[in-house]
Amino acid sequence: MRPKFPFVMDCGLFTTSYQEDMAVLFSPAAKIKVAAIIAFFLVLPYFVSPYFISVVNLIAIAVIGALGLNILVGFTGQISIGHGAFMGVGAYTVGILTTKVGLSYWAALPLAGIMAAMVGAVFGIPSLRLKGLYLAIATLAAQVIIVYTIIHWTSLTNGSAGIVIDAPRLGSASMADDRNFYYFAMLLCLTAIVCTVNLFRSRVGRAFMAVRDRDLAAAVMGINLLKYKVMSFGLSAFYAGIAGALLAAYLRVITVENFTVEVSIQYLAMIIIGGLGSVMGSIYGAAFMTLLPIFLRSAADFFGSFLPNIAHFLLSMQTALFGLIIILFLIFEPEGLAKLWKDIKEYFRLWPFSY
């Protein structure tokens, strides 16, 4: 599967080895484009306001979470309404390990991912027998159980009061500073993107997609269905755990409100709007869902200056608008923003001679 890059003409390119042929950055133009994007994000925080940086930080966290959920839902064809709770497992692991055990944040971060992966894998076991709606309900149970445990195991989690952690420090750089956190979050986000792209052009990722497309044929090809479904749940929850740990470092207050079932559904919305089974889609969806409420608020402010009542109305309509957008996407572009963007590129590929 060779990814197509926007506005990159890749005709007249030939390869002489399979390694070249299977490269993601297939054409020189694609390499230049990716380098340009990375350079853009490297210098970005020096040109924008701290508020803008903080928004990008939230998007980066959401991208990691959305990638994880897309691995499970979009690429493996399972479903999970417990993604928010798995993020919670990651965040609370960091909170407990740094405040109660005294580990540094940097040591706790990978452990948060692993802890979430283990919990996710356990809740993935029913997926061998359950499909579709039934699996959705089983993962909803995971959400409820985890949140219940967090609220009621007060000796460990401080219950609804939450855990306050110190901002992680790297040498003299404190992650309380938005710009420092930006580079840290972006590094993790880029790693997550690269790893996901790589996974789905190698053996395990292909097996995930085989399970999604035709699980019986996958079994006949020698793929152990239970193993790969549980692996997908584990990997998905690992990403969620890392995203949760990152969110913990960002907010520095870990409370259960950040990991409720609404969060799980919001992540599902991200990957549906962005595009199921698409790495780029996860990024677009995460950005879209993070920016939408901000956009709505500024729209409300704008209209509110001359129509005071409409501001209140717009803000209270936010949830309904989310729902409406998801429905519209499901009807008109089930493959999401990623497909929309791809169509635009395809159009301009041959433009203006598109006959």
Binding site: M1, S202, R203, V204, A210, V220, I223, G277
Partner: protein, 255 residues
């Protein structure tokens, strides 16, 4: 030499008997055709051999091992591969990816090495890609290798499915009506591929087919099924003159 031995296999769905007391041996390197009227239990037999159905009673021995209780993926690892009557490809994936999935059991990279895709995993991908390209050349599907299989015409999909099954490098290949719904030319191509596979790789095959012309030309031995029971077995010529077979196909002569 015996590759697969089925003894006294029975399979029931509720009150319906799909297979009853079937015993069958398949020798290494031969092409065994399984024929019979619709509902005779041919596909059920294949499903039992590769583990999609669990038989009620009876034993299946493959390469000297009792595989009666093995799940499908374990049987695949032992070298049993198949194609399906109604194409079961991974339709969102490309031809390349589908056939690469046939190499799954021969590859070793895991989640972490795959995510890093440096060194080990990449070398593996390149090595197995070479093997996949050989199969693509053999089946003459070079021009569609990057197309999602869902967009391909039926005849090509059948060919890709054969390619995926071959990529597993099976000892035993189960072909469930590989020529169903094809025109004469496509059938001739497929028959040629089957004979080439037998010749080049020496793969043992069990073939379900309704076209008697193909069956008689391609197979070394024929087993005839009717109502879940094996009613005859022998060389194509013997089968053509077997009165029980003629009766099963054409009915009893009156008077």
């Amino acid at each position: 030499m015996k590759l697969l031995g089925i003894s006294e296999l029975s399979l029931h769905f509720g009150g319906v008997t799909a297979l009853f007391n079937v015993s069958l041996e398949v020798n290494k390197g031969e092409i065994l055709a399984v024929i019979g009227p619709n509902g005779a239990g041919k596909t059920s037999l294949l499903n039992c051999i590769n583990g999609l159905y669990r038989q009620g009673s009876g034993r299946i021995v493959f390469r000297g091992r009792d595989i009666s209780r093995f799940p499908p993926h374990k049987r695949a690892m032992l070298g049993i591969s198949r194609t399906f009557q109604n194409i079961e490809l991974f339709k969102h994936l490309t031809v390349l990816e589908n056939i690469m999935l046939g190499r799954h059991i021969h590859m070793r990279s895991g989640i972490i090495s795959g995510s890093i895709y440096w060194g080990f995993a990449q070398r593996g991908e390149v090595m197995h890609r070479r093997r996949v390209e050989e199969i693509i050349d053999f089946l003459e599907i070079e021009s569609v290798r990057r197309k999602p299989v869902g967009t391909l015409p039926y005849g090509l999909q059948k060919r890709v499915e054969l390619g995926r099954a071959l990529a597993l490098e099976p000892e035993l290949l189960l072909l469930d009506e590989p020529m169903a719904g094809m025109n004469t030319e496509e059938k001739e191509d497929m028959a040629r591929f089957i004979l080439d596979i037998a010749e080049e790789w020496g793969t043992t095959m069990i073939l379900i087919e309704h076209d008697m012309g193909v069956v008689m030309d391609v197979s070394d031995r024929v087993a005839v099924f009717d109502f879940g029971q094996k009613i005859a077995e022998g060389s194509p010529v013997e089968i053509q003159h077997n009165p029980r077979v003629i009766e099963a196909y054409l009915g009893h002569q009156a008077g």
